[in-house]
């Protein structure tokens, strides 16, 4: 029922020094690609939600304490604590999943079910992405 969306790590780790339009386009087409290659998922869902996720990323980065985001080449994870990843990843994942499942339902009649799906999915994805982050993005 819920699948972890592992491709989100690529979107979240895009260099923040890139100009914002480029970031938007890249995440949009990544999401579109994911849509096209999944049989049972409606086309356009991933595109819309990953676009939303990346537009929230800089905000989240500001909120979690990193200043002047634009100047950094990469999201340097070695300098941050493990806890920071959680605060960075989870809201983004959660926002993405909310958008995704609510767009899939496209109505508020089964609100609790979609919300529950979003929560479960985001927990699942968060665990997966956290492990990936720790494993692959530290020096």
């Amino acid at each position: 029922m819920v699948v972890p969306f592992a491709f989100l790590i690529f979107i979240f780790m895009l260099p923040p020094s890139w100009p914002v339009p480029v970031l938007y386009l890249v995440s949009f087409f990544t999401g579109l690609l994911m849509d096209v290659f999944s049989e049972d998922i409606a086309v356009g869902l991933h595109a819309a939600s990953s676009l939303l996720a990346i537009s929230l990323r800089s905000r989240i980065l500001q909120l979690t304490g990193i200043s002047n985001i634009r100047s950094q080449e990469d999201i340097s994870l070695d300098k941050q604590s493990l806890l920071w990843y959680a605060f960075f990843l989870f809201p983004l994942i959660f926002a993405h999943h909310l958008a995704y499942y609510f767009l899939e339902a496209f109505s508020f009649s089964y609100f609790f079910y979609t919300f529950f799906k979003a929560i479960l999915g985001s927990i699942y994805t968060f665990i997966l992405l956290y492990i990936i982050c720790i494993t692959f993005y530290r020096r």
Partner: protein, 287 residues
Amino acid sequence: MLRLLSILSRFRNLILWLVLQLFAISLIVRMNDHQRHIFGNIMLEVSGDLHSQRYSFNRFLNLPAQNDSLIVQNRRLIQRNDSLRKRIQDYEARLLLTTTENPGLADGYEMDQGYRLIPCRAIHTSLNKSYNYIYLDKGSKDGVYENMGVISPQGIAGKVIRVSKNYSLALSAINLSFKLSAKLQGQDIPGVYEWEIDDPYHGYIDKVRTDATIEDNMKVVTSNVSTNFPEGYLVGTIRAADQKLEGSYYRLRMELATNFSQLNNLYLLEAVSKNELDSLSSGFIKE
């Protein structure tokens, strides 16, 4: 123009984001049935709302023209209503007349088949004069001729004395010049109906033989002597309390069957076989 572009370029990120999101959502809605269905419903609600507001505004602007057309239609409908109502009244009265429950027919008589009914209306009548006449709305173009009998559904009403193309004049039964040969029902004793002034609700049957027995509520009907009226049509009712029985013949007072203050549907009696009957006596002295 440059200034507009510079303002737009301040929001270039946002505009790009909006464009991409709208594109994504349009992809979702167009390519997926579930989402398209729901989206279609939402859009139907929104556009229905907008359309109905615009429609009511337009209707408000259109009110004078609508008003005029409604007035015209109203007038037409009122006229049609009137004519239909008249037709219904005619049919009802005619239906009543041609059945045996016709109140103008005395018991035991049936409507003579030798008479055809022409429905008409009293367009003018009077009640309080010595010589009352009834103006009828049918004339020679409707087949009316002189000496036709005029009946109401309750009883006799008069006799036509003058005919023009569209209208005719009838002597009312409450007219001093109106005389009719009548008889007492049951005993078949003949008499002459005539009217005395000042009482439009009562008349007299004169020259009744004194050996007639007078009972209360006895009916006076038309006899078969005149060809204007079929036999057995009601003229009036005799109340036993009113009578002064004296002299060599009786002059009986009766209550007239027709209510002359409410003359509505009247019928002209066309004697179908009149010409044939008249032709029988041609060549013979009639007086």
